[in-house]
Symmetry: D2
Subunit: 301 residues, 4 copies
Amino acid sequence: MKLGMVGLGKMGGNMAARLREKGHEVVGFDFDPEVRDVASLAELVQALEAPRIVWLMVPAGEPTLGAIAELSELLDAGDLIIEGGNSHYVQDRKNADGLKDRGIRYLDVGVSGGVWGRQNGYGIMVGGAAQDVERAKPVFDALTPDEGGGYVHAGGVGAGHFVKMVHNGIEYGMMQAFAEGFELMAAADIVDDVPGTFESWREGTVVRSWLLDLLSRALEEDPDLDGLRGYAQDSGEGRWTVQAAVDHAVPAPAITAALYARFASRQEDSPAMKVIAALRNQFGGHAVTRTTDDPARTPRS
Amino acid sequence: MKLGMVGLGKMGGNMAARLREKGHEVVGFDFDPEVRDVASLAELVQALEAPRIVWLMVPAGEPTLGAIAELSELLDAGDLIIEGGNSHYVQDRKNADGLKDRGIRYLDVGVSGGVWGRQNGYGIMVGGAAQDVERAKPVFDALTPDEGGGYVHAGGVGAGHFVKMVHNGIEYGMMQAFAEGFELMAAADIVDDVPGTFESWREGTVVRSWLLDLLSRALEEDPDLDGLRGYAQDSGEGRWTVQAAVDHAVPAPAITAALYARFASRQEDSPAMKVIAALRNQFGGHAVTRTTDDPARTPRS
Amino acid sequence: MKLGMVGLGKMGGNMAARLREKGHEVVGFDFDPEVRDVASLAELVQALEAPRIVWLMVPAGEPTLGAIAELSELLDAGDLIIEGGNSHYVQDRKNADGLKDRGIRYLDVGVSGGVWGRQNGYGIMVGGAAQDVERAKPVFDALTPDEGGGYVHAGGVGAGHFVKMVHNGIEYGMMQAFAEGFELMAAADIVDDVPGTFESWREGTVVRSWLLDLLSRALEEDPDLDGLRGYAQDSGEGRWTVQAAVDHAVPAPAITAALYARFASRQEDSPAMKVIAALRNQFGGHAVTRTTDDPARTPRS
Amino acid sequence: MKLGMVGLGKMGGNMAARLREKGHEVVGFDFDPEVRDVASLAELVQALEAPRIVWLMVPAGEPTLGAIAELSELLDAGDLIIEGGNSHYVQDRKNADGLKDRGIRYLDVGVSGGVWGRQNGYGIMVGGAAQDVERAKPVFDALTPDEGGGYVHAGGVGAGHFVKMVHNGIEYGMMQAFAEGFELMAAADIVDDVPGTFESWREGTVVRSWLLDLLSRALEEDPDLDGLRGYAQDSGEGRWTVQAAVDHAVPAPAITAALYARFASRQEDSPAMKVIAALRNQFGGHAVTRTTDDPARTPRS
């Protein structure tokens, strides 16, 4: 199968390579002249025959929206855009609606697997119409793991990115659970071998998981994690998960706790905790003095 | 009425003063010779006539337990110990049980009001048997606000400290709610007058409260709370509230969130967040290299 | 001062009445012919002299947006719309921007006080430009409590509804703190007099507040709250507070816990807890049998 | 190696069987005459030669404490008790201390793996002195998975049960994360194939794990989990984890959220939410009427 790939970075570049290894023909475009096959989206469209498939693998937001806008002018009715980046599921629906008049088809695909994907295959979560999914199925088959699995057509447009978002939200919660367990063991002065404990859990236990494998590797390299600061970014999809939970009246306390812990980790000092300190200070003897000075401000008793 | 007061610090000293102002006779003991009337618990007991009332206002834990042990040797059957400190409610029951054989009576009293209490009166929450409460009622009446209120006989031994503990747990939750609201206003770059907003809420709104009065005063003195670090101790009663909630299978997420926020505020760096950082690091390209070096450690795919 | 009031329900009607009592002239419009002075927005606009002030007190969303759209056609440059309902602060900015071309001014005002406001005065939180606020100041003065306070010009357009939103978020957290304390006391079988305990806290304690006053009244009427179901709606502003916190990377665990508790209270059964039950079930002996039947599905060990 | 096994239920019975398959000689005691080799602890002790090893696999609390007390009378100095049940780590230390005078050695062992363990091997987490661990090592080797791993000597007495407790706390958090993700997907009306989505995640994603395998199996059997009620017990170790976190000032919001969600799942109706409903009711018009009836109770304004 022949398709276009827009964005040849760490994700798009590896995916293009895997697709070629599996026998697909990929025409790649990127702003970096070193890695691209064509010099513009227009050339990319010309290099494909209708009905075309163009896979987008560029940063979410403006870059993705800009590429879609430009492609909407270049593509023909019946062509298919696959948005494989990290668009919000509501934006996917707007994208698809905007392309409808011109007859351009749209799929949204959540891609999991990171840098391991080229070798191991990717998790592929697809949203869109059945006939479009069918058309792109050979591409999905090439991307998913050789031993099968790792593929779902989750629903209509938006569903692919929605389930990828939920996947990442779950990931936040799982990571936080391990993190809390680590901190408790480190704090309690009871456990002599914390790395060995995590390592031992990799077999035979309920918590065995890929994240545990990764954590065990990290602790092997740095048993107390002394080389790291307790500082964690959030990717956006954790926020979206919480916001979707609030929108749908779904209690999501563990995932939200994980998100808030990351927020807090990035603060030099907590404004909220300043309020707590200020209030505790007001309870104290200092407050009495001030109140005597200004009786009108005396709190009600 | 004549009673003994053990512990004449910020709380006990003010309470003794208020009791005297209301016409009671107080014999005070403290380790500080400057403030005490008698030089030992033995002298204090001798200075009272049976049936005696001895009010303890000393730090929780060893000091309180030590005083009770010593008094159990000195007091007679029918005498009454009032534990007005911050004992845990389960410990109150052990204390009362331990005194039962000698016929010594026991009340536990939660006292609220801090440094404001001498002038405004104290909130008094009592646990114990009705006849003991009856006996000490004149003392409680002198301590509570002149305009009435501020008094409850909450239940049997332990109930006084239990409800005081819950009171403090609620206080944690309320403070945290204000703290989160402050931080959100400070972060959003929308509100030009944060102190004025809190001040305005003191009248006519749902959140009007003594804590809001205090917060408004604090912000009047230091509008951005720049003079404070976001660092908050916890008094022990917040922990007990959460542990009691867990013991009784009561979900207490807001109070617990307040407690955890204080824990986090005291950490230089978060061990848990180091785990998050380590895991995020493992996802990255660096990890691939290591795995190639040592395939046996490759995470399962 | 003469002004128009659109929406004469529980809030708008009482506000119009208070304004009239304070000497202002109010021309009221409502869909209910019984309560209105004029039969249409057009008539309302004609009944006022430029530069006009029209206060909107209609439900958020379509009703408010519709009224603004209609007024934008009827009003003249220099007229002022005061949106006193519950619009989202981001929508306020869109509203103000949409009116700018026509020279129509816009203030957003958060109003607190509910049914008590007509008698006690309202909490008024204003967002908008200083000259517009200045113009409407006599109206705000009439609405706020006679004894002063209850007023803030919080910032530019959107700031009024933003701080009202935060106020409601704080309210959520405070209510939840009291609710958890109540449940813990009810569960522990230690406290004989829960209503009396809350009543006693109304004086001399740290948690004294209007919400405590209300809770004490509710418990006086129904000591165990047996007449109520544990079911709580959320008004929308709690959700907005959490979403704003997420947008601004502010940890807000207590307010969020309060929101999630309301979500959970409305569920017949929890889908999330079905997952927990399912997983616990899978750990059990039943699972072994299935696995023996279908070895290919055996979880990795 | 020859050892005694006390408690031949689902766990102890399977462990005894696995030990025998690996060539160890097990003398088993149970209250059930059908499964036991000896009729009393005394007979069990007689059937072993000093220095003996007796493994306890009976319910936590009284049954375990009773067995230890009885064995302390029967065993000789140098004999070794291995407490493989679910004792609290603080209790382990008391147990070991109580046996010290008689020269009886003590190890605490957390055992993970449930009904799958006989076939797959168990996760074994040991606390105690190195020489005692060394002595029992052949037994541990027989219990852990054939392919290696699943074993840690975590620290001194108590450390085995401590890390098992933390393991279970982490398990709570991971399960809750999946549960929240499921509920969000079910609520959003976007995802057509929820079971297929979880199934797809089993390969190539960050969340792949044994728990996901189990959840996928459960959804294969019952795609909407309609056959289950959202009701979840907690085993005790989740509570202990939270209490240990509070004791050590470790924020554990995700694990705590998981515990509280289980608490809430078991409530017919939430007392806390009755308070929220009562307060919301007090805001309404009904409240005004009552206040008019009894002005003394009017909340402060």
